[in-house]
Symmetry: C2
DNA sequence: CTGTTAGCGCTTTCAG
DNA sequence: CTGAAAGCGCTAACAG
């Protein structure tokens, strides 16, 4: 860059206009790549833009155009690795479509979580993709009512300005339970996080319970409260396994948690999968790395994130066809569960 | 919310002014909590704001005030778990200070990575924290020259508008190597990622090499190219360990990579740490979960992220005292390395 | 093809 | 304590 590098104030379109000898409008046209400008003019303007080191102010553009090429992303504050994967998917796609991404992080406390809606609304994003179980449907409706198009992950929702990507674990979960009882009779224990892990997991607890009852194994179903931490779960299970009992089929919401169980079993000399079996609903790299490797319900979170963002961009350009795009999980059988005979 | 929920256009300050019977200026004052407003007036204005569901436009505010309460965060596209931790640290602090966060993700390709600078400049963020080895010092200087305050992680830099958080692994690395050769004579192998993992790791390779040479073990130092992937590293090492040779002391840039080596060793029936030792420079939860647990250089990335963001906010409020805040790594000895006698 | 002129929604002197 | 009016930097008719 030129000597303007040490300028004290950012150069505006006015100065470019003055220096280049053209009008505001013309400069604006070349900035926006309108075609009604002579090559010659364009060249000259571009040259002085370069010379002055001018960069358009997105904020002024936003105000004038009434859109910002800015999309919001709402995620929970705890950045689990699957959230990170999803985030990658979203940002990658956003970048491709030329959107900046504003990250809104919700608080773990329900009441405070809803505040994010206010922040999103006044942030002037063109749209938002939401992955956050804490938010209520009313929150989402509110966004939509403020003309903020929304893509929601993990729910089945529709409406003007709303697209959704439901995550379907139910069927896989039911099948898993059925298959378990075909092979064995150990109790099924659903690990449930005490701090509101939100709607999705809670509904899954019910699904599991109902399925057990349906096949007459209601008495073999348990819910166990755990903390949202690998270390704490590990300690807890060290204790649980101390007397080499409490064997069963454990269902964990996340693989990092499942790793706690797995390692506790191992360190208590308990054989996985012969004595204890574990499956995790959400699986990330942890599930591959840990030994024995972990059976998981497979949903590619990167993919989910990128689809969500893509749907949002379509929503923004009014070209979205299907407004609901469910992801069905499949099961990836690894070594923490017993194989079928 | 009221019946305005289904309004088709966002309400502006004008309407609030009209409806409340006050002027723009007064409404603006109450929005901004200026004290020169009667309680009475304030109450009334607030009431109509509530009634109309008015939310100020951050973008218009930004234009008028010439700052946006928006900070940028620049991170590499591959969201490793330590990046995710850092990101959490940054967003948590940003939120506390009332900043929105715009996420800029750099491309893995060097030339394209620098483009992020342009995007940041025209995005009108008030400042930016950068964690990206791809960016050059010139890139950072450019940001600073455009009056964008910068906090850089992982480098030792200063300047007007610049703060930095160098990550000091050198000394720990030297010490590790020294201690290794006091206990054994196996070769030291530095795992180096082929795709530019950037300046930091490259400089660490040199540090390791120099240290080995310094203590007369230059011939026992090797660099091994690896790919940036757990699975690929695992495969590669399965091959390397096939004949139960190539024992040594491996230094990995990241724990997910180290897990590849660890699992390959284990699955090749090689004893860790007796036959092969592994240490990782960056450590996350993987290092705790994997068995044997992994010795790492400890730097709390969440902490790094939050300090960086805090420094940026201080920079923005012109109240930053110390502009360089180095983080020194310490070693967390676990079971992938042999203990001292 | 280019220039003039209103805004976009809000803040901020400056008067009163 | 409150209001009028001039911008913030840029875009978008509307003329020419």
């Amino acid at each position: 860059m030129s000597q303007e590098d040490y300028m004290k104030k950012r150069v505006t379109i006015y100065q470019v206009a003055r220096e280049s000898g053209y009008s505001l409008a013309t400069v604006s046209r070349v900035i926006n790549n309108k075609d009604n400008v002579t090559e010659e003019t364009k060249r000259k303007v571009l040259e002085t833009i370069e010379r002055l080191g001018y960069k358009p102010s997105a904020i002024a553009q936003g105000l004038a155009k009434s859109f910002t090429t800015n999309v919001g992303i709402v995620i929970p504050s705890a950045m689990y690795s699957y959230v990170a994967n999803m985030l990658s998917g979203m940002t990658d796609i956003a970048k491709i479509y030329g959107y900046r991404t504003t990250l809104f992080v919700t608080s773990p406390i329900q009441e405070q979580a809803s505040e994010v809606v206010e922040r999103v609304i006044s942030s002037n994003v063109d749209g938002v993709v939401i992955f956050d179980d804490q938010l209520t449907e009313a929150d989402i409706a509110k966004l939509a009512s403020y003309q903020v198009p929304v893509a929601v992950i993990g729910r089945d929702l529709t409406g003007e300005n709303v697209a959704s990507i439901p995550l379907k674990y139910e069927e896989t979960l039911r099948e898993t339970i059925r298959m378990h009882f075909e092979r064995g009779q150990e109790k099924v224990v659903f690990l449930k996080m005490t701090d509101g892990n939100g709607a999705l997991m809670n509904s899954l607890v019910d699904v599991a319970k109902n399925e057990c009852e349906k096949i007459g194994k209601g008495d073999l179903f348990e819910v166990l409260d755990i903390q949202d931490s690998y270390t704490k779960t590990y300690q807890q299970f060290l204790d649980i396994f101390k007397n080499r009992n409490n064997f069963g089929f454990y269902i964990s919401p996340r693989d990092s948690i499942a790793c706690g169980v797995l390692n506790a079993a191992r360190d208590s000399n308990i054989n996985v999968p012969e004595e204890v079996q574990i499956i995790s609903i959400i699986g990330t790299k942890y599930s591959q790395i840990v030994r024995p490797s972990l059976t998981i319900f497979d949903v590619d979170m990167y993919e989910v994130g990128s689809i969500a963002m893509r749907m949002l961009t379509k929503l923004l350009s009014k070209s979205l066809q299907t407004r609901v795009y469910p992801f069905y999980s499949s099961i990836i059988e690894r070594n923490s569960t017993r194989k079928a005979k």
